[in-house]
Subunit: 356 residues, 4 copies
């Protein structure tokens, strides 16, 4: 509900795309945990540009801890980590105060901040701000892993093209096999995805898609009814990622079309005496509380609003309608780079949840 | 993120289905506002059972203000309103501690509260707890109306049956015409919806559906980037309603299949010099901030988990698998009664938002 | 910082002195704990009027649980408890909207709520609102007792008269002996206190005083630096009690006059190998964190502002200066009745703290 | 109640005394406000060491904005400002993990963070962390000044020596005259204060004292009853400053010794028709709400715990009692340097309050 995320941990993300640095200030991380900094950098590199389907802007995204970490060990005091901005070409963005880009926050930021916002590179609204999210989320993911909780995500669809899942709902054994550098079940789909994205790019256009995320190992009994529900908590974190426009848990929108007898998940005891459900349409959450089954959800990303095609806009200065052609480096599809962001949002929420 | 909702207003919902009373404690409501109590009762009656498609339990749901209201005027101090529970037949629910109902919170509550929860009628997880949500939401709706903000919702689909909208995105002129007692655009659909629900009920089954909600009149510039975004805020409130499993804003999941050139909403000045967009795929929110266009979203409800059909479950006491047949009064479809709940969740969020 | 107190528990207090009921809505209390309702009522009776040094208004203050408690056991869901107001004579307070009483919130409430506040009996600003504080605090106290944490308080002074302590800082063995119905170390002081209060009352005047509170059994390591410090947390709760104007921890204001070599508390290992300090000028808190030594603090209460003597005030209606004579039932000294309130504020804070 | 301060603004302070940097992350500061960076640096220099009565450590304390500020103008997005640590000599502090210093957080931090804390220079518990508090507070002070609100503070006493005030309660005209570099009413007292501090230092000892702070220009009607009260809010911020052990508002502890007829402040209309009180024992706050009169309070600081004299402590490693002699650079009295910290705590609270 505020710029600070979390009940038991507190996460503030700061920075502008072309300011001195972006970063995160975090409270409540476990004192004594040793961060695997190399693994964290690798996780961040999944989000960094320069990969397949991304802009050409090159940012190394090196994490620098300003506080709360000594010799890679979390001290327990407030943790602040930054990434210094280096490759910024502010010249590209000069007229954003005047002609807002459709689908971007240029216009709404202008109204909200009355012209004081830093528009360069999207400023504080830039997708670049997901890098600090991934710093905090990447650390949370490491801590959770030590507690036996694993989080995976995959590209479910790009545009109208879908990567079929091998099972009715996410299984740890299947998701473990996925290559996070291009997280699809069927590697032939990776190429097909790339092709349609490249095609869109050539047409001066862009594509959106859907990411599926699953959390394995959360014990039953966390969360709560009403505003304490896990769905609402995860949603708040996930909608913090720019371009997200929808989320569904378990069978979600499809489940709304089923009969109760189809959608209900019958209980049983497995061989070790654990309570399980035969199916998992509830997505691991019943009454807002974890059931012990895998928690999973899908996230809809809109197509990148930055496109080369000519668009209709306005000149705020001249108070007249005008056309707009955007120049500069832009991702034709953010879905691939958004995968670690969704994982991070899930990791932070689950970490916060388990601190109850 | 907690049992208390809101940044600038604070909403706590309390009560168990079969306890002495259910209610709401609310902070931050506008001192001096005169509540139209009759209109509030009417709004609550939309949620109350006894209508078409609902259980036969009869609860009058009379609001009683314990504090913060004098002569129907909001004092400014903490407001507490209750509804006394009268028609409770606890005998129906005796074995819920042992055999959890699929799709319900019986099992997860048992783990979370270690058997101390009140299971009668679903206790604190009951859909009945949406009544106090509607008290607070109904008051917020009245206050917003005075500020020129109107909120409507409609049944978009039940099961696989859809009520077609007359326009690409919600328009105030169209939504105003809808009869809230059965909120569909096409009245012939009301009958079709009733028929499939009745058919499901006859089969000992249930149905889910989708509700669309739209908020008109929110000025541009409210909300914020990252965790301050309107989408995340509304989601937290909406997922507080039992049975919600998905939410999407604007073009949502469909938008994720479009090209950027299709999904982007071009800007223009209308005749009065207001900034508008030609289309509204962004659902009135850009970068988490209101654009001045109608805010709208769709909410997926799972089918009512309480069904008469025999289901698979377990006996926690005997630690063995068992079958379950549920008796008692249950709604075969909560979608109709959920409409004021979705409106209330939206109203509380927007009210909180405008207090920034 | 808001009307809702607590990080891990959340306490909202509601009600007006002459409204239908006063009460408390509380989140986060331990599911499964069985409340000793009789002991709770006894604790509340310490605050209730009718005792020595108090008004003649007779309120039975019977706690009624609306939610979150079943058969005296805490369910884990939101707990709401109320006390119905019965003995209210609103006729006494008719002109408070016009002529504000010095030392009361009449004027400030008038400005804040623009005349919509309920002034009868002080409305939401009434000392009566400490009754729900004592409900929540009394329950917290019982839960803490089961964890080995005990909280005591005593009257340290009334007016210029002081009750001398037998030890340099509070010891459990000494405080345990105190009779909570008139909590002084030296019973002859009880009579002396009564005499000066009665004398003040006869003169149409009132007295203030200081309460000392001590918490025994809090393990070392709770709290935190900066805004997480225990002192700040306890202060926020304690200043929630009407008429409190000062607080000091350990040697407090006296400590500010000492040399470091006097005020510092040297460490030692006791016979069981526990870390202790020879003295306890730090009041059990170092760097905002509990040291394992008893936590103690003193609270300054101003004299009751309601006095029979003629006072200078204004007529807001006539916009002119005027004299004021207050009629009605008033406590000449709230200090005795405030003792359970201070204990409650401490109990809620420590309970919240231990949930970290 | 948490490491994050504020309801409408959110302040996180980070850093360790000998880490790479200390800083502050702040949300909710007014977009469009132009910071007077030179004045801010000057304000910070009041807190910086190297002045009269302080250690010899030389830190320039240059503020560097990482985000939220462009060309000295606040953007509206999250503001992060840091001070890089330069003059750190970590060698001085090597055995703090073993032998805790009396009066310091060494022991409690050790228990809380289980040895993962950064002890160098006091780590996160260091008085150095008040520098970022003064960055945020200094900016808030500038913003408040533009709204007509002025905040002053002065040294009221050091040890047993008091600087007498010219008026019964703080007046703007008198406080304005005070030289903030050594804020006393009577300049001869400055020398007397220096002498007793120097004497203490020569004896290997230290002194505490009391600071009085006053806020002029807050309109009536801000704050609220119970946990919303201004006293509790200010206290939470003020107790965030290391070494604070007490706070009192208005007549405070002295007021508890008065009769109601003495302590009550009669109302009157002044010549311009403003409501005022003849006296100001209520310290500008009635019922937790501002009255329009100056808000003032006194803060007790304990003597600096770092003293050269031999003290009693323990070896945590050897589990035995031991003596301790502290070497290194230490302030014999923090009161002078704490003045801008108290002003900052007040400024942040009042700024937060006015955003209601």
């Amino acid at each position: 509900m505020s710029a600070v995320f979390g009940e038991h941990i507190k996460i503030s993300i700061f920075g502008e795309s072309h300011g001195p640095a972006i970063g995160v200030t975090a409270e409540g991380f476990d004192a004594g945990f040793k961060i695997n900094v190399e693994a964290l950098q690798e996780f961040l590199s999944l989000r960094a540009p320069g990969g397949r389907m991304s802009t050409k802007r090159k940012e190394p995204d090196i994490v620098k801890f300003l506080s709360g970490v000594k010799d890679d060990v979390i001290c327990g005091s407030t943790l602040t980590a930054i990434i210094e901005n280096t490759d910024t070409r502010s010249g590209d963005y000069s007229n954003l105060y005047d002609i807002p880009r459709p689908g971007h926050a240029d216009y709404t930021a202008q109204i909200k901040y009355k012209g004081s916002q830093d528009v360069r590179g999207g400023g504080h609204f830039s997708g670049r701000l997901t890098a600090p999210l991934c710093i905090a989320g990447g650390i949370a993911k490491q801590i959770l892993a030590k507690k036996g909780i694993e989080i995976y995500a995959r590209i479910k669809s790009i545009g109208t093209l879908t990567d079929e899942a091998p099972t009715a709902y996410p299984k740890l054994s299947e998701m473990k096999k996925i290559d996070l550098r291009f997280p699809v079940y069927n590697q032939d789909k990776a190429e097909a995805f790339e092709n349609i994205v490249e095609e869109a790019r050539m047409n001066g256009d862009s594509l959106g898609g859907v990411i599926e995320c699953a959390v394995f190992g959360v014990p039953a009994g966390f969360g709560g009814p009403l505003f304490e529900g896990i769905e609402g908590r995860i949603s708040q974190a996930v909608f913090g990622i720019p371009a997200v426009k929808g989320i569904e848990f378990g069978s979600g929108f499809d489940g709304s079309k089923m009969y109760g007898s189809e959608n209900n998940d019958g209980f049983y005891f497995d061989d070790e005496g654990n309570v399980k459900t035969y199916t998992n349409n509830h997505g691991g959450i019943l009454g807002g509380v974890s059931s012990g089954m895998p928690i999973y959800f899908s996230v809809a990303f809109k197509p990148t609003p930055s496109i080369a095609k000519k668009q209709k806009s306005i000149s705020l200065k001249n108070k007249e309608n005008t056309d707009l052609e955007i120049k500069g480096r832009h991702d034709p599809c953010v879905v691939l780079r958004a995968v670690p962001c969704v994982i991070s949002a899930a990791a932070l929420t689950i970490y916060d949840l388990l601190k109850e």
